[in-house]
């Protein structure tokens, strides 16, 4: 078998391993759906009454839902970082590294299983949201585009989660990463239009990566076709994914115990 065939086979083996973890402990998936749904209920219940700055007749659940999808991806990536960190501190990554498998196959396993897990939880969150009154106007093509953007976002966040998980010597060391992926969406167009924010916060919200992703999803699911924001979102996601991938590659090749 060629090196390429073996790498694909090893990636599949590693993906199966991580997916088996999810199936063995389905509570992981339940929490990954429950947390965004609770946030959705919270925001619709608390801020839904305000409707400040929203277009007339727009429902708040339609406005906030893209952000909930992004937060589902953020939560998924923190689960990934914790899983990678557990493997790293428990020594099984050292075992894999003494075996004749390419380090990239190991990384692919984490990323592909995280992608599957997060997309399933996002689909479940959307289903619950529709039950709660979310009314997307997208046709099949736009749904496909929205799914594509979500896949890109999950890839970006997961490729960042893997090296953070590898680099941290303890589970506590991941707090920073988890805070960033879970709090950064708040300082964006997620829950309130940026126009109502103070100048400094507005500047930050306009330039952070979650804003173009949320705006693109919102445009695709409930609004008009987004223009330039889609390109910005794609560039952000691709850039973060490549940066995370390169960092992870360095980490799995460097000496153990450093």
């Amino acid at each position: 078998m060629s090196t390429m065939t073996l790498a694909v086979r090893d990636s599949a083996t590693m993906t199966r391993r991580s997916l088996r973890h999810v199936l063995r402990y389905p509570v992981t998936l339940v929490v990954a759906v429950a947390v965004p749904v609770l946030l959705l209920l919270l925001f619709v219940g608390v801020f839904g009454a305000l409707k400040a700055g929203l277009p007339a007749h727009a429902s708040y659940i339609n406005y906030v839902m893209p952000a909930i999808i992004v937060m589902t991806a953020g939560y998924g990536s923190s689960v990934t970082a914790q899983g990678v960190n557990r493997d790293s501190t428990e020594g099984i990554i050292a075992r894999f590294r003494t075996m004749a498998i390419s380090p990239t196959s190991m990384l692919n396993g984490y990323v592909l299983s995280a992608l599957a897990r997060t997309l399933v939880s996002a689909a479940l969150v959307i289903a619950v949201a529709i039950g709660l009154g979310f009314r997307p106007t997208a046709d099949a093509g736009r749904w496909l585009a929205a799914a594509g953007i979500t896949v890109l976002l999950v890839l970006a966040l997961t490729w960042l989660a893997v090296p953070f998980g590898l680099a941290s010597k303890t589970a506590e060391g991941l707090t920073g990463f988890i805070l960033i992926v879970q709090l950064l969406p708040f300082i964006s167009s997620a829950f309130v239009p940026t126009g109502q924010m103070s100048a400094g916060v507005r500047w930050f919200a306009a330039h952070e990566p979650f804003t173009p992703v949320i705006d693109t999803l919102r445009g695709l699911l409930t609004g008009s076709v987004p223009g330039g924001t889609t390109l910005t979102a794609v560039i952000w996601c691709a850039g973060l994914a490549v940066a995370g991938y390169l960092w992870a590659r360095v980490l799995v090749r460097r000496d153990l115990n450093r």
Partner: protein, 323 residues
């Protein structure tokens, strides 16, 4: 057809490694013959784990050459990985998978194929007394069971060279004997074993050759017999109730090593029942002043004391300064 002598399984020359300004390996030369058991003996912090990590491609050396199965670990790590199996000091199993799933994962990563993988996994579960726990997650395993699963995972790929880093540390006596038996069977099948240990009796029991590692240097190397010749033999230790008894005992047994502070006499002896009876007969009435008799066989401390003039646990002044 010319017959070529089988090459050494592992050759290390001038191996050096430092972490920061702490020298861990200070120029090590080792040669391990194919199909033999080699033991690296030393206390905590001697550099045993670092040596194994360099030889198993996990850590880069600062200097020197290491060839494992004929391949340079720095230039061709993939070829080295294909020939070796490693079981470290701490069990590296997937705690969320069952014992059987752990073995099948390893089988898949060795590209064994479904049928062959299942066959070998079942055989190893039997061999390591894990068949009853095969469908339980490794999280529920005891320390000894995890260690056995870890070794079974190493063996499923049929490696020709196996590194065992303190494989019996923390194991109960039964698991320890089981580990020893497994190692003997592997060597009988032509496998090369590189074993690190803190226990002289373990190295003595298993190894064809022993190297004693102390603060990153090999201070002695040879067969177990050669090594034991360089250290004091076993002795009987007599503890006295008071100094008067010690004086009387020392007079009765000329030539015994006397420790006034500890109120003990040490008499070289094989520790057998006949020798002990003969010793007590020589003491005569003085035997009443002895409140404890113990037989002492040489251990790592004796080896270190004989080779370096200080106990194994005590750091050297240079090491203190290096920190």
């Amino acid at each position: 057809m010319t017959s070529v002598p089988s090459p050494a399984a592992i050759v290390a020359t001038g191996l050096r490694k430092s972490f920061g300004d702490k020298v861990v390996l200070d120029g090590i030369d080792l040669e391990v013959g194919a199909g033999t058991t080699f033991s690296l003996l030393g206390p905590n912090g001697a550099g045993k784990t670092t040596t194994v990590q360099i030889m198993s491609t996990l850590v880069h050396a600062d200097g020197g050459d290491v060839r494992v199965a004929g391949h340079d670990v720095a230039r061709d790590p993939a070829a080295v990985r294909a020939a070796i199996g490693v079981t470290g000091q701490f069990s590296a199993v997937d705690n969320l998978l069952t014992g059987e799933e752990n073995l099948l994962l390893m089988a898949d990563l060795h590209h064994l194929g479904r049928v062959e993988g299942r066959r070998r996994a079942a055989a190893l579960l039997d061999q390591f007394d894990l068949a009853d726990a095969a469908s339980k997650t490794a999280l529920t395993y005891s320390g000894g069971m995890k260690r056995r699963l870890d070794l079974a995972m190493t063996l499923i790929g049929d490696p020709r060279i196996i590194f065992l880093d303190e494989p019996t540390t923390g194991l109960d006596p039964r698991s320890r004997r089981m580990m020893w038996q497994t190692i003997r069977e592997l060597v009988a099948g032509g496998v090369t074993i590189f074993l690190t240990t803190q226990q002289l009796d373990e190295a003595d029991e298993l190894a064809d050759r022993i190297a004693v590692l102390d603060h990153g240097r090999v201070v002695a190397e040879g067969s177990p017999e050669e090594l034991k010749r360089s250290i004091p033999g076993s002795h009987v230790r007599l503890h006295f109730a008071d100094a008067t008894g010690l004086d009387a005992g020392a007079r009765a047994l000329g030539g015994a090593f006397r420790h006034d502070d500890a109120l003990t006499l040490e008499v070289p002896s094989d520790g057998g029942a006949v020798a002990v009876r003969e010793l007590l007969n020589r003491l005569g009435d003085t035997a009443a002043a002895v409140d404890e008799v113990s037989v002492h066989t040489p251990d790592l401390d004796d080896v270190f004391f004989a080779l370096t003039g200080r106990p194994a646990a005590e750091p050297t002044p240079e090491m203190e300064n290096a920190r």
